[in-house]
């Protein structure tokens, strides 16, 4: 290679580097990705494994089901259950254990009526152990449901009965204040026995092996690539449905999704915090509130974290406000407790309004507590090789880096970050192979119990093995307590104990970020934040 040639090689490299550095981003004039106001195009980050009401567990399936199917009730934009396939809210017996639903004159997408038997069939199918449903346990408030799932009683003994084609009676094991919330959950949707039998093991694996009773039908499903929803002409409330088509594109890399959005090929997508800055202050930015709580569990089978002062010092030693504002940047709310901000309290108030939380952060106090803890333990310095374990997603890694640095700066505590795939994180948690564990819980329904029962002594989600008899007693009592007011007070007391005893270090109540074009109107998310509702969505775009 001679000198001249080398020079030109280098020049070429340099030009490329300069190109890379010099180009900024210019926006295109916005317009709907589908070309007109009738088609809505959105992106999903994963392929739905299947759309079987009994088996579906993931969010993408839940979103498709929420928009193609309808249960007895459906949540409105305020998270309240409203009549859907049921003509009105159910009649509840005095002991709060029997619910009777009257069905409206609704139809399946082949024109056949939706009957009470379709619900009975669906729920019993989910509970049948042979179905291998991983969400069957959500039906357990129903009388004998758990026993049937375990094979101890027969199907006919389960407390769900079709009185006739349009009347459904449900008997519960205990009074369950959140049963109406459950009725809008995907697992509680109906299924058609003839369709399930017709396709057998192929049921719900393709678009044409399903039947629908919701606002849209699934008309096309190209695995790993896309799915298409079309307006359902048999839907009972179709007057309100304003979109003709919804196209879902499946794409895993968020950077590419953002590119597609910027090139006007998507109208809506969720994004990661890394991309938040691009849309900072723009009307595209949409916050999706989840009913999710994230916290650190501390391994209390180890002497170091058995010490209350050490546990407390960790809580005081992490600045959660900076974490949400500067690291996560997704409008998550810094947490001082366990119950997320929009968790239901009584009829009128949110839980957090009745029992406000205090976000703790005080480096000086943290140092004090830490020193006191070490002294109590008779230690001169921390144990070697402490590990903080969490998921290996980009944003989760960043969070752990932040926490590591906070503990180092504020306490002088050195921890090692172990970022591992989700399944490994679960196993580590289950086997107490961690010192600090970043955990989160997404509510299945809008009631404090979905969080409170996590930290019962010996509970399988209580990975830090924290244990407190008063807490156990309060929560166990609330499980069957028909007195709503007393129950709520008990659960509030329980949460206070949890925080005072530093069972966990609350981090934040999570929100997710989305970007949607300004002309997208009327879209909303159900209260747990897991699914959007497109029933009344429309595009308001003018040239």
């Amino acid at each position: 290679m001679n000198k001249k040639r080398l020079l030109s090689v280098l020049a070429f490299v340099l030009i490329c580097a300069l190109l890379l550095a010099s180009c900024g981003f210019e926006g295109n004039a916005i317009k709907p990705a589908g070309g007109d106001n009738r088609t809505f195009v959105l992106a999903e980050s994963a392929e739905p494994p299947n759309l079987d009401v009994s088996k579906s567990t993931d969010e993408v399936s839940s979103r498709i089901l929420n928009n193609t199917m309808e249960g007895l009730l459906r949540q409105d934009r305020n998270g309240r259950p409203q009549p859907a396939i049921a003509a009105q809210l159910p009649q509840v017996s005095k002991d709060k254990r029997t619910y009777t639903f009257t069905l409206r004159n609704a139809r399946w997408s082949d024109g056949k009526p939706v009957r009470a038997q379709d619900f009975v069939f669906s729920w019993l199918r989910t509970l049948n152990a042979k179905t291998k449903s991983e969400y069957a346990f959500i039906l357990f408030p129903i009388q004998n449901a758990e026993e049937y799932n375990a094979g101890k009683v027969s199907a006919s003994q389960v407390g769900v009965k079709a009185l006739d084609d349009s009347h459904l009676q449900v008997k519960l094991k205990f009074p369950t204040p959140y049963f109406m919330e459950l009725c809008s959950f995907t697992t509680f949707m109906p299924q058609r026995e003839d369709i399930v039998n017709q396709y057998g093991s192929e049921y719900a694996l393709e678009a044409n092996r399903l039947i629908f009773n919701g606002p849209f039908t699934l008309s096309n499903w190209e695995h790993e690539a896309s799915f298409t929803l079309k307006k359902n002409s048999f839907y009972w409330d179709q007057r309100k449905v304003r979109l003709d088509r919804v196209e879902g594109k499946i794409i895993k890399d968020v950077a590419s999704t953002v590119n597609l959005y910027s090139a006007n090929r998507l109208d809506f997508t969720e994004i990661n915090p890394e991309f938040a800055a691009i849309f900072e202050g723009k009307s595209d930015r949409t916050v999706i509130k989840e009913m999710a709580s994230w916290y650190i569990e501390m391994n209390q089978t180890k002497a170091f974290f058995k010490n209350l002062n050490i546990r407390k010092s960790i809580n005081y030693g992490i600045d959660k406000r900076s974490l949400t504002k500067r690291v996560l940047k997704n409008d998550s709310v810094p947490a001082g407790g366990l119950m997320p901000t929009h968790m239901k309290g009584d009829e009128k108030h949110k839980f957090r309004e009745l029992s406000p939380d205090t976000v703790l952060y005080d480096p000086a106090k943290a140092k004090q507590l830490y020193a006191a803890g070490l002294k109590e333990l008779g230690l001169k310095r921390q144990p070697d090789r402490l590990e903080i374990v969490g998921d290996d997603a980009d944003s989760s890694k960043k969070q752990m880096e932040y926490i590591k640095e906070q503990l180092r700066k504020n306490l002088g505590l050195q921890v090692e970050v172990t970022a591992i795939p989700f399944k490994q994180r679960l196993q580590r948690g289950k086997r107490q192979q961690f010192d600090l564990l970043i955990s989160g819980w997404n509510a299945d329904y809008n009631d404090p119990m979905t969080f409170s029962d996590l930290f019962l002594s010996g509970g399988s989600y209580n990975r830090g093995k924290w244990s407190n008899p008063t807490y156990d007693q309060l929560v166990r009592k609330s499980m069957t307590n028909p007195n709503d007011q007393e129950r709520l007070a008990d659960l509030m007391k329980a949460e206070k104990i949890l925080i005072q005893d530093a069972a966990i270090v609350p981090l934040y109540y999570r929100s997710r970020l989305g970007i949607k074009k300004p002309f997208v109107k009327g879209i909303y998310w159900i209260s747990t934040g897991s699914s959007y509702v497109l029933k009344e969505t429309y595009l308001d775009w003018k040239k």
Partner: protein, 302 residues
């Protein structure tokens, strides 16, 4: 024409003889050839510079690779932060050079393992020949047809994250080409007179292998190493991209490129420096590899 076509062979033959007698001559010759290859020299200079900064770069700046300052996030380059800061307010100058160090460490470690296993395996296989060779060759053929990516990802799921696990995972299939090269070389050499001479003088297998065969395979090994190092760096970057590997805040160039890639639209400089550095390391090793091949394997000289 007839005369001319004979003469070069004569000359070559003579130099070959001399070369065998005096090994230093070969290396001097190689060094001369290498030095006269401008590209190779430039590659070597690149690598030396990058290694210098990777190990001492952090002392040019007051920052370390892990300290965060959330009030100074995503900054451009300035007199304080030569390469700007990342989304946690960490100094990118320190992080980039630290990343280069980790990338190089992983690559060196992985390649060292490759050489160790490859030379042993290939050497034994080639030296003893016969049935031993046959069996060992089957093992190589099997390993050769396993998709290395699958093995690496599976191993990383299995091992704890960290530098050593990545290096181990990379070398699980990485040593195979090395073994093939060494075996071919040993096969060629062992039938030559100097080996026969050594053997008839009563040298042990070990002595023959280490003193006589190994030094003569060094050339091809060095060439192969100079191409394996960039490919290991490449692979590591690739693993980081799918999220497998190190313990944060440890960072390799791959991790930094992956992070920077996400901020491409707003802060292209976060991608620029690590991507440029990866490219320069690759460029350096590739240029040097070319030069080494020309220098150590004169037959390949174009």
């Amino acid at each position: 024409m007839e005369k001319e076509s004979f003469q070069p062979i004569q000359r070559n033959f003579l130099s070959y003889q001399r070369l065998e007698r005096k090994q230093v001559g070969f290396w001097q010759d190689a060094w001369y050839r290498f030095r006269s290859n401008k590209g190779a020299l430039l590659g070597a200079i690149f690598i030396i510079c990058i290694m210098f900064f990777a190990f001492f770069g952090s002392s040019f700046s007051q920052y370390d690779y892990y300290s965060q300052n959330l009030l100074e996030v995503d900054q451009g380059d300035s007199a304080q932060h030569y390469f700007g800061t990342d989304s946690l307010g960490r100094d990118l100058w320190a992080r980039t050079w630290y990343g280069a160090k980790i990338s190089l460490l992983i690559a060196f470690l992985a390649v060292a393992l490759d050489v160790l296993i490859g030379v042993t395996f290939g050497g034994i296989s080639g030296y003893f020949g016969g049935r031993v060779d046959d069996t060992m060759q089957r093992v190589i053929e099997i390993l050769y047809s396993i998709p290395n990516l699958i093995v690496i990802i599976l191993m990383l799921m299995w091992l704890e994250p960290g530098i050593i696990p990545i290096a181990v995972a990379l070398s699980i299939t990485g040593w195979v080409p090395m073994a093939r090269i060494v075996r071919a070389q040993v096969l060629k050499l062992k039938s030559q007179e100097f080996v026969l001479a050594a053997r008839s003088l009563g040298a042990s297998h070990r002595r023959i292998f280490i003193r006589h065969l190994l030094p003569n395979t060094v050339g091809p090994i060095i060439i192969s190493v100079s191409f394996s190092i960039p490919s290991a760096i490449f692979f590591e970057a690739f693993l980081s991209f799918i999220g497998l590997g190190l313990r944060p805040p440890q960072a390799s160039l791959g991790v930094l490129v992956n992070e920077g890639y996400r901020y491409l639209q707003l802060y292209p400089h976060q991608l620029l420096w690590p991507a440029l550095l990866i490219s320069l390391i690759m460029l350096g090793f590739n240029l040097m590899g070319d030069g080494l091949r020309d220098a150590l394997d004169p037959k390949m000289k174009r």
